[in-house]
């Protein structure tokens, strides 16, 4: 399965783009691991993961078409 991953804030700079596709991941933990192995600096970053604009508590199974996002600490206001 192909999953679309969006990146925000400082994470865009680490990955070099604001969006990418990962394949062969069945849950968010796998997506995180896959990207962390490709971009080791991600391991030092604090971020949350959302699926379809809802924050994921621990790990979440992915369905086709899910929009995954990596969200560094919020800084609005």
């Amino acid at each position: 399965m192909n999953s679309r991953v969006r990146l925000f804030g400082s994470l865009v700079e680490i990955v070099g783009k604001s969006e990418l596709n990962v394949s062969g991941c069945s849950d968010t933990q796998e997506v995180k691991e896959k990207l962390a192995s490709e971009f080791p600096q991600l391991r030092k970053c604090e971020f949350l993961i959302s699926v379809d604009r809802k924050l994921v508590k621990n790990n979440q199974r992915l369905e086709p078409g899910n929009e995954i996002a990596f969200l560094p600490p919020f800084a609005g206001g």
């Binding site: 969006r6 925000f8 804030g9 400082s10 959302s50 604009r53 996002a69 969200l71 560094p72 600490p73 919020f74 800084a75 609005g76 206001g77």
Partner: protein, 147 residues
Amino acid sequence: MKERKPHKVFLTGPITPQFIADSIAKHSIKTTIGAHDIFLGQVRRDVIENKAVHAIEYSAYEEMAEEKFHELREAAFAKFQLTCMHIYHSKGKVKAGEICLFVFVSSKHRSSAFEACRWIVEEIKNNVPIWGKEIFEDETYVWKENS
């Protein structure tokens, strides 16, 4: 329950005093209102490692942020006795001294407006996916962290 139309929260660039005045003026026809509380976030010229912040450039996961703002709005109306509430947040560049957040809460009595306004600002800071780059005069930057 009355359906409240979600309104656009993000404005490009700073929120101007004139925009705030126009929002206030629109409430003069709502004569059950006795109290407004308005919170404004203003960009500080903080000095970080000897360099002063010149501007903050805001970005957001807009689709998720708009959903969060909508949830927050519904929760605020359920939790407090409010007549009106409006939230505006900048995206893009806002210079030091300019306004980046405008929360406007109106109610019959002052306690609801005060409590709701404060609650909403905390919720925005903690739960809405917005980020800011603090840009220095020399165009270097750091990512803003909320305290």
